[in-house]
Amino acid sequence: MDALTPNQLDVLQELINIGVGHAANTLNQMSGQHVSLHAPEVTVVPIEKMLSGEFIDADQQVMAIKLSFSGNFSGMASLMFPPESANKLITIILGEEPVAEDMDMMRMGVLQEVGNIVLNGVMGSIGNLLMEHIDYLPPDYYETSFADLLTSEDQKENMLLLAKTNFFLEERLIQGDILVIFRLQTFDSLLTALGRMMAEQGMSPNG
């Protein structure tokens, strides 16, 4: 497995930004509030390296929406929020402070939909790049540690794409991490697709 060249990474980052942009639009429509979504940096590393704690605190508790996909192109995409950001997000979207008892249900409902929108945006972009149909499983919701979320996948050697995102809702910053895990052969397909697209655009894969 080859590491991504800077050009490849730039293209991938751009793709993800487009997807996040779509998601932001959807969120704007849905919440009736101005939502900015940014994915400022994209990192692609093996899972084991990610678990080393170099990029993210593997032990931190997260609230995660997971969208699994299967078939020729398999893996999963996940949007993870630290609890504080998750609560802030829910409060802004619903326009009210959830009481403790409601929290679990409301958090699950709201985060599922928000995650669904963001991940659909990202996966829509990637799907467009691959020009292949992706079979999705119904979205799921977890409250667990980041490490558990990563290791729930069978293959430890999978490639992992991490994009840190920032939500700005009502001028309040909400942090979230978009994580996409590709199986190795899927990642290879991604690289191939990237190369094809860059060639069409007249870009050098090593630029």
Binding site: Q29, M106, E113
Partner: protein, 744 residues
């Protein structure tokens, strides 16, 4: 249930399995036409599958066309990832009402289904989460309610705290107001009593100098009016104090009989003036001593006696006390004042104890008075834990009954224990007869005889009228005195001269009486001088202020307006105490300290009058002045003895009898004459203290000062009573000396 008229898409078979699941399932094609509509949705919406299959769902359920749904559903038709519409954000997609009118809340997922031709169907699954949400909502509502209740509770609590704070503020204000009321009372008392003192003093002075009978009558009337006014003021102040809860009782161990006898003495003259028979009846089994506020008890009794005499024109007034057992009070004393007067009609009885009401308002003109006395008396009785009631028959007289709980004396070492009862009808011969005095003396003993002419008094008083009045009083009693006008001058005078007693006004310019007193006390300590008694003269009559005076170094207290006899009595009381504790150089004595001659009744009485002094004191002042005997009889004491013996045998009994009569007759002229006669005899015999007492008595009788005269007569009697034993003791000493001389 499907309509046969609608074309069934080829995939329909694969959805059949979803027909009966408990989720709403609808499948749409890219044109929003309904491909599948399951039973659950039929049930929820009332819309059967046949009626909607093949139709554009947006026509039946326009909500689906809304951008928030349509934009995302569109991506599914392109094969995009599944979509979630959360019930928390969107409530529902396909409106379906519940029996209660609300809509089913739906958690919606929209998933792409790839058709054989490569296009996508959207399968919409609707989960009814109403119950979950309702539970949540209910819980939320309950919690909201709880929060509301909590915030209300907090608000209530805050209100409560505010109320508390307000109550505290009000309590503080009330306390301030109460304090203000006390100050007001004290000031009123001062402001009114001070000019009254001036008026009464001036009237007294005028009367003493006036010879014209008509003018004297007018003066007496004015004096009576002024005294009534003062009484009214005192009553009002007392009543306000009782009502304000400011009246404090000062119970002490007192002799019941003394109080009763004093009341009898006080009213014997008014009764005699109206030809009424005033009789005191003491019941059997009465305690000799009781613990009670004597001032207030006497105030009530005097009020009742005042009324009885006022409203009785002929016949009698009887008053007395009996031991009683009261249902409520237990052991009690039942005082009764009964008269054969005009009585009170039944209809007027209720009003009797109300302030400012007399039984008949027309009485006021005829009898005078404000009707405060009985109201005050009842309040005082209640304050003392007792009751005051009346029974009366119009035209036949009235009986007022005062019942007070019986409190035994507190002093544990009192030999007059509550169990020790006396029978007044059979007086215990070993006890002295109760000493009768017309004066409200703090001590019920007659004032010991003191040499007034040698007593130096310092008077500090700033008001000129009061100065004149005090000058008049002190001169009349034969005191030597210096007068100053402020506290500073008093301190200076004290520093440069010697005084036996000081009369100190409280309110004075430059330095007030209290500060002056403190400085004088400091001077005494500095120079190691004995304590000079200081009497406070003030119209401040509140008990707490009196206590303050004593705490600041004063020894006695006289309320203004000052009554001459009270002044004299208080001075005598303090001078006696001072004399006893201070005097360290007794003069040559005759007959003092000997126990050999105490056989006679008179001797017993005389000793007992000073028995309370015996423990701390070498004894009362000497009866005879030995030095004078030496000089006047030139050593011939045999002649002196013969003269004294003759006086004791032949003259003394007559003088005593005559004095006892005059005490009850109030014949001032005769008293002055007798005093003059006794004075001469005593002077000759060198019986110095009694000689001076007789001289003072002659002056007061001539000045028509009734109470001072009565007091003087008691004093003179007591002094005379000391003579036989003193003489006998002297005789015994002489015999001893003689024997010793003979044997030598």
């Amino acid at each position: 249930m499907m309509s046969s008229s609608v074309a069934i898409p080829p995939e329909i078979g694969q959805f059949r399995i979803l027909e009966h699941i408990p989720l709403g399932v609808v499948v749409l094609d890219a044109g929003y036409h309904v491909v599948f509509w399951n039973k659950c949705l039929e049930y929820w919406t009332g819309q059967d599958a046949a009626g909607i299959t093949g139709q554009d769902i947006r026509k039946h359920f326009p909500l689906v066309a809304e951008k928030r749904f349509a934009a995302r559903i569109a991506s599914v038709f392109c094969g995009g990832p599944p979509i979630i519409f959360s019930s928390h954000i969107h409530k529902y997609l396909i409106p379906a009402t519940l029996p209660n009118g609300s809509y089913r809340l739906q958690h919606v997922t929209v998933s792409p289904m790839r058709r054989l031709d490569g296009s996508f169907l959207a399968m919409i699954m609707l989960q009814d989460v109403t119950e979950v949400n309702t539970r949540l909502t209910q819980r939320k509502q309950a919690e909201d309610k709880l929060r509301t209740v909590l915030s209300q509770l907090e608000a209530t609590n805050a209100q409560l705290e505010q109320s508390n704070a307000r109550a505290m503020r009000m309590a503080r204000k009330a306390q301030e107001a109460n304090a203000a009321k006390s100050i007001f009372l004290a000031n009123m008392s001062h402001e009114i009593r001070t000019p009254m003192g001036g008026i009464l003093g001036a009237l007294d002075m005028l009367a003493s100098k006036e010879q014209d009978a008509d003018k004297l009558t007018l003066l007496r009337m004015t004096t009576d009016s002024a005294k009534s006014l003062l009484q009214i003021i005192n009553d009002i102040l007392d009543l306000s104090k009782v009502e304000a809860g400011k009246m404090a009782l000062h119970p002490e161990d007192i002799s019941l009989e003394t109080i009763m006898r004093r009341c009898q003495d006080l009213y014997s003259i008014p009764a005699r003036n109206k030809n009424l028979d005033l009789r005191l009846e003491m019941g059997p089994d009465l305690p000799r001593t009781l613990h009670i506020d004597p001032t207030r008890l006497e105030q009530i009794l005097r009020n009742l006696l005042d009324n009885a005499i006022k409203f009785t024109h002929q016949g009698w007034v009887r008053f007395g006390v009996q031991y009683a057992r009261d249902a409520n009070l237990g052991q009690a004393l039942h005082f009764a004042v009964q008269d054969s007067g005009i009585g009170i009609t039944a209809s007027s009885l209720d009003q009797l104890f109300r302030p400012f009401s007399q039984a008949d308002s027309s009485y006021a003109k005829q009898y005078g008075g404000t009707g405060l006395g009985l109201a005050l008396s009842r309040r005082l009785a209640e304050l003392m834990g007792g009751t005051l009631a009346v029974e009366s028959t119009s035209g036949l007289g009235s009986t007022f009954s005062l019942v007070l709980p019986l409190s035994p004396p507190v002093s544990a070492d009192s030999d007059r224990s509550p169990g020790h009862l006396v029978q007044p009808s059979e007086p215990d011969q070993s006890q002295p007869e109760p000493i009768k005095t017309a004066l409200p003396l703090p001590s019920h003993q007659p004032p010991p005889i003191l040499k007034q002419r040698t007593i130096r008094v310092l008077v500090a008083e700033d008001v000129e009228l009061n100065q004149q009045y005090l000058t008049f009083l002190l001169e009349r009693q034969g005191y030597h005195f210096d007068l100053v006008s402020n506290g500073l001058a008093a301190v200076q005078a004290f520093a440069s001269s010697t005084y036996d007693i000081i009369l100190m006004d409280i309110q004075m310019p430059d330095m007030d009486g209290l500060e002056a007193t403190e400085r004088i006390r400091a001077l005494e300590r500095e120079r190691n001088l004995p304590r000079t008694p200081i009497i406070a003269l003030t119209a401040y009559a509140m008990p707490e202020e009196q206590a303050n005076f004593l705490a600041r170094g004063m020894d006695g207290f006289l309320p203004k307006p000052i009554q001459g006899d009270n002044l004299h009595a208080e001075m005598q009381r303090l001078l006696t105490t001072s004399h006893q504790t201070v005097s360290s150089a007794p003069e040559i004595t005759l007959g003092n300290g000997s126990k050999s001659a105490s056989g006679t009744a008179t001797g017993t009485a005389s000793e007992s009058t000073s028995e309370s002094n015996m423990k701390t004191d070498p004894g009362p002042s000497p009866v005879f002045n030995l030095r004078d005997i030496q000089s006047r009889f030139m050593g011939n004491d045999t002649l002196w003895r013969r003269m004294v013996a003759r006086f004791l045998q032949q003259e003394l009994p007559e003088y005593r009898e005559r004095l006892n009569q005059l005490i009850h007759e109030a014949d001032l002229q005769e008293t002055a004459r007798l005093a003059h006669k006794i004075k001469g005899a005593l002077g000759t015999l060198c019986a110095e203290p009694s000689h001076e007492t007789a001289a003072a008595l002659e002056i007061t009788a001539k000045n028509a000062d009734i109470s001072a005269t009565t007091n003087g007569m008691y004093t003179l009697l007591a002094e005379l009573d000391r003579m036989p034993s003193a003489f006998a003791a002297n005789q015994a000493d002489r015999d001893e000396d003689h024997e010793r001389a003979t044997s030598e």
